[in-house]
Structures are given as C-alpha cells and as structure tokens.
C-alpha cells in the first residue's frame, strides 16, 4: 500500500516539477499592488516598494 503511495507520489512530483517550471511558479511571493501612480518615472519619490526589510546582514568573523 505504502509502496503504491510512493509510486503515485513520485509520478505526481515529476508532473508537478514540470508544471511548476513551465508555469514559472517559485517559492517567492511578491506583493501585488494595483494602481500605482503613473508618474513614478517622472517622480521616483511618488512610490516606494513595500519591501523595506533588511535582508542578508552577516556578522562578519
């Protein structure tokens, strides 16, 4: 029984891997913001990305 589940899982994962690659699914989920100002290019300060978090800050040795 478990072996059958294993086989089905394997085949399913292969299919999922192909599909995820084809449709471009990733682990990242960016924020989608509608109706951002049309003037950003002329006035860059009119919009800021919601992502203001600091990322890879390593401590050094």
């Amino acid at each position: 029984m478990l072996m059958n589940v294993h086989k089905v899982l394997g085949i399913g994962l292969l299919g999922a891997m192909l599909a995820f690659n084809y449709f471009g699914l990733t682990m990242t989920q960016p924020d989608r913001v509608s109706n951002v100002p049309k003037t950003i290019r002329q006035n860059p300060g009119s919009y800021r990305s919601h992502y203001q978090t600091h990322y890879v800050h390593l401590g050094g040795k």
């Binding site: 990733t26 682990m27 960016p30 913001v33 860059p44 990305s49 600091h54 990322y55 890879v56 800050h57």
Partner: protein, 662 residues
Amino acid sequence: MLQIACPSCGASLVFRAQSTTHAVCSACRSLVVRHDVDLESLGKVSDLQPDGSPIQLGTSGTFLGKHFEVIGRIQVAYDSGFWNEWYLQYTDGSNGWLGEAMGTYFVNQELDPAGPLARPEDLRVGSFVTLKNEFFVVCEVSTSTLSSYEGELPFVFPSEKTRFTTADLRTGGQLAATLDYSDPASPTVYLGYYVDFDELKLAGLRDFNPELENQQGVSTSVLRCPTCGAPHELKAGGVSQVLACEYCGTAIDLKDKSLKVLFQVQESEKITPLIPLGAKGKVDGHEWECLGFMRRSARVEGMDYPFTEYLLYNPYQGYRWLVESDGHWTLARPILMLPRNLGSGDPVTEPTDNTLSYKGNRFRHFQTAVARVRYVAGEFYWQVRLGDEVRMHDYVCPPHSLSCEESTGREQVWSEGRYLEPLEVARAFGLNSIRQPYKVGPSQPDPYTPLKHRAWMWWAGYLAASFILMVLTTMISANKVVFSKTGVATSDPTSLTVVSDEFEIPGRTSNVEVRTTAGVNNRWVDFHLALIDSKTNEALDFGTGVAFYSGRDSDGYWSEGSTSNAVTLPRVPAGRYYLLAEMESGTTASADMKPGEAPSRPDPAKNFSWSITVKRDVPSWIWFFIGLGLMLPVPLWYWLRESSFETQRWTESDHAPTSSSE
C-alpha cells in the same frame, strides 16, 4: 564385452569393462575372478544388506557431461550403517566410483597421490592434508568392514572380514577426497566431488513403490513393539538404527537382533507431534515422509528453550530436518561442503562466532548453545538417546541458516537450512491449523528489506528521472536577459533611487529572475524593488540584498557573504515593464545588533557600483530538491522498520544489541 558361463552354476556372466577382474554371479552369488579367458570361482559372497539405496546395477546417469552406467558395487558397513561404492563405466571407456550413503553422493576416481600419505593414526579430525596443491580438512576417520559385493569390480578385499580405516577429506567447495587404508602398505586416494542427487540425472533407479517391493520380496519390514505390541512399518529399514514407539515410548535398537530396549520415555513426557509420523508432504519439489519426531531444548544462560524437529525421508534425496521453534519453521539438510571463514577463506575446522561464507552468502554467527534431547518418537538413523547433548553453533543469512553440531568425540555435522513460512508447512502436510510465529525467527526473512530496497530504487529512479527532466527543462528554458543596468551609488541620495526605461518581457506567463550585484566589502546593500506593468500600473513589490565581509586575522584571510543575490518572481505575464529600485547601504552587521535595535542605520557615505539584471523564464531547481525531500519519508520509514525488525531478531542472539542505558 566378455560373456562367459559362471564356473559354479553355469549362468551367464558378463564382463563389460576392460578394467574389471572380478564379478559376482547374480544367480549363485559366487565371486569369480578372470585370468584372460579362464574363470576361477573364489566362493560365495555374503548377501547384500538392505540399506535403502535407490541405486542398482544398470542405473545410468551423467556427470560433467559424461554418461555412465553402474556395473558393480562394494557395500561397506560402518558405525552409522552402510555405504556403497558403485563402480561406474563411462561411455568413453573410463571408469570411476560413486560413493553413496543416506542421500549423499560422491563421484570420484582413484588418484595417484604423488607422494607418501599420512599414516591413519596420524590423521586428526580438523587437521589439514594437501593433495594436488589443494588444502583438505580431515572431517572423519572411521573403521569399516566389507559387507558384500555385486556386479563387476576391478579388485576385491583380501577377505570379507577385512577391517580398514578410511578418512573423509573435505574442502570449502564440492571437491572432496577419501583416503582408503584397506591396504595399509599402499593406501589409495579417491578424489571427486559431492553432488546433489538431481545433478546426476539418474535413470533406472530402484522403485520404492511398496506394492512393487512386495512383489520383489524386498518389502519394508514390519515389527511389533516388544512392550505394547503396536505394529510399526519401518520406512527406512536397513538404515534406521532406533525405533521409538510413539504409543508407549519404548525405544528399540534395530541393529540388535533381539530388539533390545534402549530406553523408555515416561508417559508424562509424551508429546503429540503436530505433523503425524508417517505423514507425507511435498517440500522443495520432493515428497517427504515424516519418520521421526524429536523435542530438544537449548540451554542459554540457565534457561531452556525447547524446539521440535521432524525427521523427513525421501529414498532418493536422503534425510531432511523440519525444525520448529516458536512457530518458526526451517527445512535443514546435512551438507558435506564446509563453510569458509570470511576473513581467511579457509574451510572452517572449529566453529567460532566468526562470520562465515557459504555458497556465496555471508552467514553471521547467531548463537552457540548446548542442545539436549528431551523426547523422541519414530525412526532414527543414529543411536539416539534421551539426554544426548550436542553443542550447536547457529549462523544466519535470512532466509538461509547454517548449523554445526558438535558432540563429544564425534565429528562435526554441518547442515544448511531455509526458512519456511508456517502456511507452506501447513499446506505441504495438510495441517488444519498451525501455531502463529512468536517474536522474530533467527532466519526469518525481514519483510521490510525488499520493501526498503524497492523504495530506495524508486527514490533513485525518481532522482534520475527528475534530474533528466530538469536538464531538459534547463535546455529549453528561454533564460533570456530582458533588462540590465549598472551604476554607481554615491553620497548623493538621488543616486540610490533608479527608475529604468520600459523593457519588454516576452513569451508565455512564466517566472522572472532579478539579480542584484553590488561591489562592496564589509558592507551591506538592500535593494527595495518594484516591477511595474506600464500598461496596467500593477506593481510587484519585492526586495533582495547583498552583504560581503572580509578581513584578516591570526588564521589569515577570511570572507563571508556574497556581492550578488537573486530573487525569482512567479507567473509574470508578458508585457512592457519598468523597474523601480531603491538602495540602502550600511556597515552595521546583524550580529552586532542588540535586541530591539533598528536593523541598521543607512550609511551612504561610501561609493559602490551596482548592477541589476532581469531574466525571463529561468529554470528553477528548487522543485527538484523539494521533490527529492518529499520522496524520502517512505524509504526512511522502511529503513526504520527494517532496523526495528533486525533489533528484535538479534535480541535473541548471543550478539544482542545493547541499549544506551546499559
């Protein structure tokens, strides 16, 4: 072929082989010697003793591709009964011998030893003898007596009362030898191979059909128990040495003409065997008859562990033991090929707890214990006694097992076993019910091992298939740079904000990778990014950052982090986009922060170069690794179950696993 009249009775006497000098007249049993064409009678020979042999004069067979016919026989008596040396005439004109006793077969030929042989009194069981550059182990030295002759022979013994010594030499293979000291001044070596009955492809065998045997006057004998009068039909008459009456427990010495009572089993100790005496069953493709039943117990650390053994008999195949312990069954057969020590490769002369090699399998030592006979019923081919003790050394390679029984002053008896499922035994002997196995049997196959192997095979198959698919995906992915921009950040705040020109993201809805690079050292840079659809004004807000630190200390140069990082955005439709990027930079490291402190204080004082690259339809290997991880639990589960099963098995052995608390 020479056909002459018997000088005693006038019956026709045939000499088929050039090498034969003697023949026994089948009509009057006179032993005749030929001198060219003249015949001389040497007197009558004793009658052949019933020994249960399936071979007879005229039996034909094949060995190493050579066809042979049995033309003569020397019957020899020894302590355990009789054995036969059948004289063979091969179709190519050569001759040889087929040694046969109780279902074991040894095809051999006389060998010139090319040197002096050890004296019989110098031969010690377990010592080595070298013949033809091969090491042989002396396994048995016994004294035998001529019993009788039949057919044509190349020689005869000086007298029928001749007692002579023979030594059985064995190896870790089928090769074996016999040293024959019937002429002490000129001992003879016979070199050959132990073979299975089926390998010889014998034809023209004796028929053991009881009705036919009755007609031929060689019926299986029937005797009555001297104590209770119960009738017993001896199935292996001539070979059996002891009969224990299953009704009253009286054990009779069948080799004693007066049927001497050997011992008496107490009524209170009587056990009813699960497989009735006389029951027939088909196991391993052959039909076996249950001749005997024996209960023994193995003493381990002061505790007695009983087990039951059924002696099975097939006139062509010999004897087998069907052993039952805690509901686990093993079919065991005696073997003449010695196991080898795994390390040295030498045949085993003294069983130890070393791992052994036999027929290509590795057998681990399981247990050594003293086994004692508690109860017997039926026929036995040796002088069994209540209380008999042997030292048993058991080795396992599930579903196979090896066992060596050592008794004081006797040779070692090796047997190989194969685990049988209880249902297989029940079906074979028509048993309505059979005891369920308790715990894990020493040679019980681990049911999780094949499942574990299959699960790992599937995992490996998945790994290969998914890797190939990923390589193909990588090859057909567009992986196309659709935007790239570089710049230099300075102390001017406007240099830290960048809005790109519009660029085209082509193709089907797929992912987009944004890679950011900053030429920094001992500094971090955060990129706050928005990919904006210029047509719909919908933004995808995301961020990434780089940090790179390096220096020198007492260990030399060190570095940490990277000046490049990437983020992949899912399902971005085709269209025209532009990118908004804001950069922050500083030197404070996370490790230096205190709890509650702001992540960093931007420190734009230092210039650094940067670049942003946008790629369309980038293959993502993350799904490959996630898939491998998701496929792991099933093989790991079977591996854990297998380990648990093996722990239970070895808990009952001399090598029980110890817990960490011990």
